[in-house]
């Protein structure tokens, strides 16, 4: 499918097609049961088993709707399997009709459950190279401050963020140390340099499974506007230590997103992790 020039328009079109698919589940399944009823009362020369196809198709549609959601519903995903069991059982037209009505009702309940318990469909964000809120808002808020960052530094930030997300902490520590050194060597002592240093410190600790040190790197108060989360003013050191890491990683994400467009695909693959970092805990 060609991606249109207007992402918003394409997003709306996809939402519309998903809505039609949602309508298709009860329509197809109850439609099949209705067909079985018509065959039963009118005695038209049609094999009643054709009515089962309504439930089979509805099951596949429901499974597709479950598949495209970020959180998978195993019950909805396995409904095509049950629909085949449905076909395999030989029965008469009346039993088949009753079974189809019950099955259609079950599919409709599963559809409602899918919509309300398993969230909306995965947005087109990945394909359209678009972030979801609240990360999108943060990245947009900090885009102005990222203008002075070179694409090379942006690329380094992307690599380090991805390495950290993958749990390759040794590599993330080495690369963030190198990136911080390069920025300092070029005479730049920015918030980004500090973020690299903070990530290096945390990654090195994580690589060796070491606990929080007594003293650790933090952002300076004038960097507060660039941070995603407010700095904890608690007496406890742990919240401050961990929120500093979250802020540093999110700053790297924002710098990478705003300055290194070629890395956006990799960053989108780690978006769920970045969104998790945005959460208050």
């Amino acid at each position: 499918m060609a991606v249109s020039d207007n992402p918003e328009q394409e997003k709306q079109a996809e939402e519309l097609s998903h809505r039609w698919l949602e309508y298709a589940v009860p329509l197809l399944s109850f439609g099949g049961a209705l067909l079985a009823f018509i065959i039963l009362v009118t005695s038209i020369p049609l094999d009643f088993r054709i009515s089962i196809l309504g439930c089979v198709l509805a099951s596949w549609v429901l499974a597709y709707l479950a598949w495209i959601r970020p959180r998978k519903d195993i019950v909805a995903l396995t409904t095509p399997l049950y629909s085949f069991i449905f076909i395999a059982i030989p029965t008469d037209v009346f039993s088949s009709m009753v079974l189809e009505v019950l099955y259609a009702a079950s599919l409709t309940i599963l559809l409602v459950r899918l919509k309300y318990r398993f969230g909306t469909t995965a947005s087109m964000a990945y394909r359209l190279k678009e972030l979801a809120a609240p990360l999108k808002t943060y990245v947009a808020r900090t885009s102005g401050s990222c203008q002075g960052i070179s694409p090379e530094s942006g690329h380094c930030a992307a690599v380090i963020f991805v390495r950290f997300a993958e749990g390759n902490y040794g590599e993330a520590a080495r690369e963030s140390g190198t990136a911080a050194g390069q920025l300092e060597g070029a005479g730049t002592s920015s918030c980004l340099t500090r973020a690299f240093k903070i990530v290096r410190e945390h990654a090195a600790l994580l690589d060796k499974s070491l606990p929080r040190p007594q003293t650790f790197l933090t952002f300076s108060p004038e960097d507060a506007d660039l941070l995603a989360k407010p700095v904890s003013d608690s007496v406890e050191k742990d919240p401050e230590f961990y929120s500093t890491l979250d802020n540093a990683l999110l700053l790297l994400f924002s710098a990478a997103w705003n300055t290194s467009e070629k890395d956006r695909t990799h960053l989108l693959a780690c978006e769920a992790f970045a969104q998790k970092l945005m959460s208050p805990a």
């Binding site: 598949w67 959180r71 998978k72 195993i74 995903l77 991805v162 997300a165 993958e166 749990g167 902490y169 994580l206 690589d207 499974s209 742990d238 919240p239 961990y242 693959a269 780690c270 769920a272 992790f273 998790k276 970092l277 959460s279 805990a281």
Partner: protein, 167 residues
Amino acid sequence: MKIGNVEVKVSIVAIAVFVIFTIFLIVASLSSPEVRSQLIWLVPALFMLLVIPTALNYMSRSQYANIAPVYEAEAKTVRIKLINESMIGKPVRIEGVVERVYYQWMNRPQYLIADRSGSISVKMFTSPDEDVKVNDIVEVFGQVIHRYMITGDPVINCVLIRKIKKS
């Protein structure tokens, strides 16, 4: 029951199946002479209902006991929040409070472990060494996997779970 160094636990399901089929067999052999003539293989088959789950439990627990030291050496201690889909296949160690315990009666326990940064499902495909209950503070060694093998949110395939402080 202990076989060698391995503490073997038979699930309540296996015992229930054994009891039900024993009752069936007794009733059938009392009412039918044909069944009585087949007891020579029916009784061993009945005992296999207990022997097979016991053997499987022994094998899985001895395997887990062998790989646990590897995980203890290689797993990185992380906060639950840092576990994400990009870490699939990585050995990790987490510490947290047990918020829920499911399926313990099947010898396939699943725990919901939480720390201050979030919570995560921890699945174990054999019975644990220790009896872990809700509110216990535990450390978990395991590998990050998808909830449904190829898809789903990241969960931990637990190799070792043990209490680190009494609740």
